[in-house]
Chain length 566, copies 2
């Protein structure tokens, strides 16, 4: 898993003429024309690991084209969806492929899908390998996969190979494909702003088109509690933004089902014990520092929260555990996903210190870290008992002030998600022996760069150039290349790199809502999708973001035509 190490490839180069007016993006700056591969008829995103297409030949799909697949509860709907797509999409590439579509060749009649293990569940590590073979003659093309989930990946590839009206598809084509990283996700925060079920489904659909497989749903936070938890209905009834901004159990079931039919796991996060101000609407007695002003002094060290919206669950109150166990149990029942994200980030000393019971504990020689240890030790075993692997944010181990001893975090049941200090914190986590998911804010936070949301900031008053940088905490806006070129295993040994499960881009919603959702996520999320699927290096071992520019432009255009308005 070393970076851009330079390996042989079976790519065959075919260069299309580019009209000066058709496209202004210029790759030739770095890569001279002979290494270009515009091949827009094989513009599959993310780029497959191995493509053999020695000649630019294609044939039409039969008007009665069909797909032949074994029945599978979740794959069969996907097959039907892709069958309809390839028949009706009639996509016209930005750059017309100079490919010979043989009118005399018999049209392709069938895509035959073979699955080795039909029973394999959609979970971390599910085999997503597939291969696709389309010959020049014969009525049948072949898609083979170990699992239904690999077949869904292959169906997406097949759909991206089809273009035009009548639909044509390349022939003498062989693709072998499998992801470099098993965990490839998107975080959506539905607490700071609410998103409708349809927004989430549209996002999962676009994720699937990019071969992403984890929708990390940051459901709750201090700002609202939009999830109807059957055993604790007051949490949403009082803590949501309103009755029309609540996800019911049937909404969740619909989203989970949709995810299964798209090969996308739905991973719930119930952030706690911090980020729980909204819980106080139903249970003020279990929430420390709720309803207080978040930054009472001018000193950042005295803050009560990382941003407005205070409130941490109080680990010293037994009622806290009654409520959160109900939440954990119901969430586990609603989400089949075997990972459960517990949050545990940004414990703010000032919040717990503002609570009388915790004050008393501290004045008797206790520490804030012991308070957190009590919380972790009172919840983590319960989550594990429900056959879940727990994901926490890195803070629980790496925070400067409030953290737990690693003995409280069993390595076989705990994954730590990193978001600070780029490769440096990733290394700390894997050196400590934990598996990790990478969401480094400097690379993967999609919400950055839109200006501060905390009111006046005198830095903006400056009329000079360039010094607006830093006026919101994670400036600047992350360009797609920044995301594409990030190497999430940088500086790790081969063994350490194996502990990196993958990565997730994050859309925190202080300044995002359904209106701007697609534009914030896409096409930038596609950049991570390719890097985690097949890497960011070309055959010569160099970063390939230059070569990827035109391909991403073309893919974005196709995504737009499919309804992703990014």
């Amino acid at each position: 898993m070393r970076i851009c190490e330079g390996k042989k490839s079976m790519f065959h180069v075919f260069v299309h003429p580019i009209s000066k007016f058709a496209i202004i993006i210029c790759l030739a700056l770095i890569f001279p024309p002979p290494t270009l591969s515009l091949k827009s008829a094989v513009n599959v995103w993310p780029k497959p690991r191995l493509v053999s297409w020695p000649k630019p030949l294609a044939r039409f799909l039969s008007a009665n084209f069909t797909m032949d697949s074994p029945y599978h509860q979740h794959l069969t709907p996907a097959v039907n969806r892709y069958l309809s797509l390839v028949r009706t999409e009639h996509y016209h590439p930005l750059i017309t492929p100079s490919v010979k579509v043989s009118a005399s060749a018999a049209p392709l009649q069938t895509l035959s899908i073979k699955i080795t293990d039909l029973a394999a569940p959609l979970q971390h590590g599910a085999n997503e390998t597939y291969s696709l073979s389309i010959s020049e003659a014969g009525g049948t093309a072949y898609l083979t996969a170990e699992t239904a989930w690999g077949a869904i990946r292959g169906l997406e590839t097949f759909s991206q190979l089809v273009w035009g009206d009548p639909p044509a598809i390349p022939v003498r084509l062989y693709i072998w494909d499998a992801p470099l990283f098993a965990h490839r996700g998107v975080i959506l925060d539905t607490s700071r702003n609410y998103y409708g079920v349809e927004d989430i489904l549209r996002t999962i659909e676009a994720m699937s088109a990019n071969k992403l497989n984890v929708f990390h749903w940051h459901i709750t936070d201090s700002h609202s509690f939009p999830l109807m938890v059957p055993s604790e209905p007051e949490l949403a009834a009082k803590g949501s933004y309103g009755p029309d901004m609540i996800y019911s159990p049937s909404d969740v079931a619909k989203i989970v089902q949709f995810g299964l039919e798209h090969g996308v796991r739905v991973l719930p996060e119930i952030d706690s014990p911090g980020h729980t101000g909204s819980w106080a609407e139903a249970y003020p007695e279990i929430v420390a520092c709720a309803y207080m002003f978040w930054l009472p002094g001018s000193d950042w060290a005295d803050r009560l929260a990382a941003e407005p919206g205070t409130g941490h669950l109080n680990p010293l109150n037994q009622k806290t555990y009654k409520v959160i166990e109900n939440v954990i149990r119901d969430v586990s029942n609603m989400f089949p996903e075997t990972f459960y994200h517990g949050g545990a980030d940004e414990i703010t000393p000032g919040c717990w210190k503002a609570d009388p019971t915790i004050q008393s504990f501290l004045s008797n020689g206790g520490t804030l870290s012991q308070v957190l240890e009590k919380f972790i030790n009172s919840t983590l075993p319960y989550i594990i008992s429900l056959n879940r692997t727990v994901v926490y944010w890195e803070d629980v181990l790496l925070d400067d002030i409030v953290k737990v001893d690693s003995s409280f975090l069993p390595k076989e049941h705990t994954i730590l998600q990193t978001w600070n200090n780029g490769p440096s914190n990733t290394k700390k986590i894997v050196e400590a022996g934990y598996r990790t998911i990478v969401s480094s804010s400097e690379f993967y936070y999609l919400d950055c760069g839109h200006g501060g949301f905390l009111g006046n900031d005198s830095r903006y008053d400056s009329q000079a150039t360039g010094d607006k940088e830093g006026a919101s905490w994670c400036d600047p806006f992350k360009a797609w290349q920044t995301i594409y070129n990030y190497d999430i295993t940088l500086g790790l040994s081969e063994d350490e790199a194996k502990l990196v499960l993958g990565g997730e881009v994050a859309l925190w919603s202080e300044q995002a809502d359904p209106t701007v959702l697609d534009g914030r996520l896409w096409p930038r999320t596609s950049a991570m999708a390719e890097t985690l699927w097949s890497g960011n290096c070309d055959e010569a071992g160099r970063k390939r973001s230059g070569e990827a520019t035109d391909r991403l432009n073309e893919w974005r255009y196709r995504m737009v035509s499919r309804g992703v308005k990014g």
Copy 2:
């Protein structure tokens, strides 16, 4: 026109309670609560110059509410539009106004509109002053304005005062309003990507809602020539992206008419002699360096264009003037606007030097600046003869290498638009005695920050934090506060400041198209709209972007409900 000088105001303060969950934006950091004025029932954007509303009282609009206005070709359609809007919008503010709507008060029956000068044309300097008076009793409210264009501004204000179902409106309200700057615009580049007529109309409508008054249409460039010029039909027939990406004369008429009915001037820019590569599709003989690679060496000084897409009109070829005079005449016929934007930016020495006739002129002792002077002197008098004021980009006077002597640019007929070096170039232009329009790229360029579009850039390979800055030329993405707080007359004397006509934000379209248009323009353009209308200072003379945060959030929410998806 000094900045934030602190003046008295008639604002009366009324503070609404804010629910912790309703909004996470916190103004109280800088401005303590007593100076807050959330008054969402009077959340008019841009904030009017003077509002008197001593008590939070309101009454309903009558079910038969109507507007009484003199007939005017362009105002009357606006009156009908606003009448329909206030009757049907039923806007529900994010923060419910705690305003007493008197159920016993007689509902408002009529808005009576009085215009002093019905014949005043929509042109630079048209009087946009209006006043609005809504009393507690009586059936009629009054909108008075000097011109139809001021009345349209007042109608917009009236519409933003109405909320709820049934619609209510504040009473005992008096507003006096007028813009600080006469020229408040948006530049849209329709050459690098094409926008449909409906996209342009939607943009003009949103501009009008923000009291902006100039749609600066950067129609043509090196990438495509999408305007059908009747005397030179080959320019678009060959130089556009395709037959479905051409603006016909009737499209232009529709856009101009729509602008008139919204109080928005449509200012055409035909960029020349640079940025004309697309003209070569019809007339290769008049375009220097067309179809060449734009950056043949690694030295930036050797470039043939500022970005891919080469081509400069050849001022030494007489045919150039035959073509461009036809274009200028037809454009003047299509656009009633009295400003004509001639471009004249970014003359790239390498391009003209690549042309044999210009080479010959240079080797005989001529200079590139003389070549440009010939072009200006052969076109500017013709444009002036058509009763147009010419706008050029600042380069024509301030470029380091290729520029003209100011004697070629008569001050009474020429305006220079600035885009480089912020306040420094603005000062240079007004010191030279020219009127200016400010589009400083560091503040007003809306396209910045989305990453380079020129292919590979090794700066993105870095895995360290923060050094991606500068990887595209005008990074970072401009936050709305950066735009809001920019003082376009900074460092100018009072007399110099009078030469600053106003400002324009710019959306260049290398990385923008109709799909992302609204998100790139809005709500950031609203920030400039308020600054140029009523300033960016509060009553105490301090920058008011903190206070504006909640108001802009509320206004953005209303814009979304009106179909602006930004």
